[in-house]
Symmetry: C2
Subunit: 341 residues, 2 copies
Amino acid sequence: MNINELTTPALVVDVDAFEANLADMAAALPGDRLRPHVKAHKTTELAKRQLAAGHRGFTCATIREVEGMVAAGLGEDLLLANEVADARRIGPLLDAGARVTLAIDSDATLAAAVAGGVREVVVDVNVGLPRCGIAPDRAGALADAARAAGLVVRGVMGYEGHLMMLEDVAERAKLTEECMAKLLAAHADVGGELVTGGGTGTYAVNTWVTEIQAGSYALMDTAYTKAGLPFRQSLTVLATVISVTAPSGEMPGWAVADLGLKALGMDHGNPTVLGGQVWFCSDEHTVFAPDAPVAVGDRVHVVPAHIDPTVALHERMHLVSGSAAVEGEVIETWPVDLRGW
Amino acid sequence: MNINELTTPALVVDVDAFEANLADMAAALPGDRLRPHVKAHKTTELAKRQLAAGHRGFTCATIREVEGMVAAGLGEDLLLANEVADARRIGPLLDAGARVTLAIDSDATLAAAVAGGVREVVVDVNVGLPRCGIAPDRAGALADAARAAGLVVRGVMGYEGHLMMLEDVAERAKLTEECMAKLLAAHADVGGELVTGGGTGTYAVNTWVTEIQAGSYALMDTAYTKAGLPFRQSLTVLATVISVTAPSGEMPGWAVADLGLKALGMDHGNPTVLGGQVWFCSDEHTVFAPDAPVAVGDRVHVVPAHIDPTVALHERMHLVSGSAAVEGEVIETWPVDLRGW
């Protein structure tokens, strides 16, 4: 099928860019040096490509993602890199043969892990981002409590998320080192084989962790591109022009594409229409000034400002050849099957 | 079931506020004076409540919404208030007995209507918002062309969307009158029984249309509340506290709730945590400073900054009694079944 036959809006993935991203990352961080984060794509078929590139372990942000990965046969070594107040959906996955390691950062989340039948944990350490994570000097005591409760403590986790988008690479490297010094200090107290952290923004400069939790590198994000990362933006949202207004007097002309707030993650701002300047988005519309005349029925590619929440709005993504040319063939269609909670 | 047993994040609708909104709107705009817009909630069970309140016709933004409404038995008089470049999914709905009226604003969208087997249209007129819609002085010619092509032209549509959030009511009323003068001029040329437009922001001041297309009034939005509208915010996202960090030195304490960019429409900015001040949101987290101490496992209600795209991220919504008290009972659970395209 040609992509012009797709119902729009539709997620399309440029297969060449996508495969280059996977190959480049696997070369930089082979095998277990990378634990791909599935929150960035929420698609088990995409995760299977990451497995084929050599990465056996995966990172998840929600229990739903863990369940879906197990159901897809990708449960060899899953890290739920997040705290949960109720872990009771994890126990049955372990009983079914999956390996799931859960992050804890408090006595309460330790208790939830125990109550949920969890067997293995990492201690989540606050390395500077004010979000989850225990203070580094308290990590050892939490690990002791976890072991006393019968759990295996596999190591420590620390996410330097506040540094991911820093455009100055030297500054990003220096601050990452400071964050990781905190994580390594905690690791000295906690023990275990895992020091897990990092992301697409720091995959090259975070040389202290045993594994990097990058996810965005596969489809990529505009902000990461601005930060100088070498991966290519492989995902666009294909849309159709549904209305065109010609210039009139001092008012320039504009066009309307059939995608809007329900097809685009908007927390990083407006998307980019390839071949136009975006004026604004509403629920099911993006209004833009086209660089060259367009007509009703024309297809346009739109680059979302933030991929992760964009993907969460779509039921499927289409792997295509030559998508940027608007003449691609759909090679495969993958359900975005890890959405919801 | 008590709402504390819900998996979070979860959409919860305060039944008292919701029913008051429906009753208040039905009193202001009874029966066919209101054509509720389903894009605001994407939920056929909610639309059935609007039907029970006396409104037989509905407004849709996408073909998927039209299809879902027909499948739910709500296809008595549907207006697809949007242009489409491909209308071929509409013909079969008409053959199955539904009534669907399509907006057109160009020769190209007229041709798409004809090719799709559409029988009835309205002429979409640009009344000031630079989005879809034909210039008022060209509406009559498009109506003539539609009738020449064998279509029934039911009237005109004009959406003064740029006025919805104006906080000065007198200014909103004055500018609405100017927009509607354009629409009525077009209607004089087009004819037909429908003059359709308006929204929650102008439902009380737009006295020129034959029907108002309001949707947000049922669940309501923070921005509409600021604009002084009388409806109550009936929808919140229920979330669970998963991490708490105590104050340390000069750093205040904070907490993390398990909802983020994938559970919240973010185009209007950060959500509001009831009982706290939001610092930032990430994919699956909202970090906030609680007004009073909270603990892991506590539930919090979060008001999204924009309801429409928030609803599109969730599989279901729960109708509850006394939701604000975090002690409500789930009365019914409705699938958000009009998502996607």
